[in-house]
Every structure is written in C-alpha cells, then in structure tokens.
Chain length 190, copies 2
Amino acid sequence: MRADAQRNYARLLAVAEEEIALNGADASLEQIARIAGVGSGTVRRHFPTRHALLAAVFRDRVESLCAQARDRVGRTDARAALLEWLSAVTTSAATIRGLAMALNRDRAADAEHEHCATTQLTEAGEPLVRQAAGVLAPGVTIADLLALITGIALATEDHPDPAAEANRLFALAVAGLSPQGEVRRPAAAR
Amino acid sequence: MRADAQRNYARLLAVAEEEIALNGADASLEQIARIAGVGSGTVRRHFPTRHALLAAVFRDRVESLCAQARDRVGRTDARAALLEWLSAVTTSAATIRGLAMALNRDRAADAEHEHCATTQLTEAGEPLVRQAAGVLAPGVTIADLLALITGIALATEDHPDPAAEANRLFALAVAGLSPQGEVRRPAAAR
DNA sequence: TTGCTAAACGGCGGGGGTCTCCGTATCGTA
DNA sequence: TACGATACGGAGACCCCCGCCGTTTAGCAA
C-alpha cells in the first residue's frame, strides 16, 4: 500500500471514529471525507460499504472483547466467567455509539462476511457458554445472549447513562424478571 | 376539516401503513406521497414530522394493546395477566415493521409528547405491573419491561419468524437466562 | 537524478430524500 | 353564485449516496 494511501486510511479511520461516536452508525460519509480533508471517492475506495467502515472502526474494540473471552475460558467458575464477559460486551455495546447498531445489522446480513463483528463475538463466546451450559436455562445459545445484549444496547442508547442502564437490564434478564415457576422447564412458553 | 383534506389524510394513512410495513420506519415520505398521488407538501401538512406519521399509523394498534391491558386489570392471576399482555406487546412490536423503532425513538424523545405510544403503553401497563409486583424481581418497572421488549423486537427484526423469536427471548428473560445467584460486573471494562 | 507507470486522488453528475414556501385550485358557505 | 378560507402541489435549496473518470503523485528503476 502506498504511503499516501496509508496516511489517508489512518486519517479516515480516526475521523470516522469520532464522527460515529458523535452521530451514530448513520454518520455522513461525505462529512467524514470533508473533515478528513479528502474527496468522497477516497472514502469509498478504502471502505466500499458503510459496513466496511464500521467494521474497521470497531475492529480493535471487538478483538479486545474476543481476547477477554479467550482469557476466561477454562476458569473454574464458569458462570461468573461468562457473566462477566457478557457484562463487558454489554458495556461496550451500550457505550460505543453505533456499535450496537453495527452488530445488529450484520446479524441481519446473515453471516455474509466471515469476519463480521457478530461472528467473531459468537465464536469467541461460544466456549464460555458451553462451559457454563449447566447453569444456563435450557436452550440458551450464545446467539441469543448476543441478540439480547444488542437489543438492550439499542434500547438504552439515549439513556443518560447507557452502560449502567444496559447492564442493569441485562442483569435482570439473567436473574429473571419474574423467576418463579417455569424456570427449569424447557417446554415451549405459550 | 375539509372533505378533500379528510380524503387525503385517509389515503396517506393507508399508503403509509403499507409502505412502512414494507420498508420500516425509514420509509420515504416522498414515495408515500407519490403512491398516494399527492404532493409532498400535503404529506408534511398532515404529518409535520415523521414521528407524527408513525404515531398516526400505529395509533389503532397501540390503543388496542392498551385496551387489552385494561381488560386484564383486576384478574386474580396477576402474573399471567401481565405476562400475557407483555407477550402480546412483544408480538406486535416484532411483527409490525417499524413499530419497535417508533417506540424506541419516542422513548429517546424523552416524553416530548404526552400521547406518544410509549407513554400510552407505559400508563396502560403500569397497573398490571403494580398488581404483579409481588412476583416480579425487585426494581422491575413497566418502563424496564417495555424497553426490553422494544430492544428484543429491534434485535429480531430480520429473523425469519420475528414474533416467535422475540417471544422466545422475552420468555427466557422472564424466567431468567441463568436464574441462580447474582450477576457480577467485571472490575474494569477493557 | 530523472523518467515512467500504476496506484491513488478528487470531485463531478445523476438519483433520491427532507423541508420550506408560495401561487393556485378547490371546498363550503353566505 | 360568489367569495374567503383552506388545502393543494411542486419548485427550490440543501444534503447524502454512489459510480465514474481525468489528473496527480509515489516509488521504483535506469
């Protein structure tokens, strides 16, 4: 890659991160180009789709989460290991503007890309779930957990303290909103 | 209201309902105007904001849900009454394209309008929650339940069977994803 | 150093969307 | 039937996404 291309790539990434933090996943690409001082074509060359830009912006963060998951595999307190990680994911999803929407969108895209954030998180979290299978409600998958988390993050995006609120809601869901009764029964609910 | 205005209003509402069902809450207002055979100014006159249009389109449905809530107040099995109603809300939010997003947005708008859908549902559901307070986890409010439901609906919007998936996730949250013990948050995120 | 070439750049043009405003057509009434 | 209030339509200004192409420039090689 040519030196000027590298410079522009880095610049765009930095600007995009700011702009997305400010305006969410729908931030204007044109605006990003303007701030970065490049033509709109340059943005498009480096990031052919909006999804590509989002993926690049959030890559480090997602990889960090995946690493955190790997670090927790094999711990004896499987439940705590899983819940702590999920809480970290929740905090990121709720705090980093646009991340939740990005995660949600590429779940919709139906695993079109192998390296999309949702896929990565799913693969990273799967061992933790398997490990903790005994203490989870029957039928709960890593996909369910991530779906719930992204949903919660979307729903709390405009709360004064999104991370706290999201974690609170997720904790409620983990413990059960109304836990009595059919807790351990796998039969279909209505 | 003049007769032609009434006609246009009704036409627009019908077209908007279709178009939103097809393309979600971001459906093009211009497109709606075109299909309805009116000028774009007419759309904006009847519905000054996108929110106003969404509110009008979903009004009947929301009122039906509110009515269902009222019908359930006073039932002896308070828990079932609440859960059934929440399931109905979940089904609507997940099935009717754009509704979840509309609900989510007007929660963000911070009760700007008294008659917004979220407010209505909150008021309608509150008695059911109070009634069932004894069997709910401490600290759970009607706002929490609705936030969770809209979040779940958003996250399952592109699932093959959104209603089933959303209800499944919500049922899991009600019973508890991992019902025993307490959820702990990690010492430091990242 | 100087050419040269492929890679990268910028921005134009077309297609849409939102929002505002105003001249005009139409309704309902006197 | 005539008239005023009301509603209509669409033009204009602005922004955004997307594809394309003429121009510039980095980096290698002579």
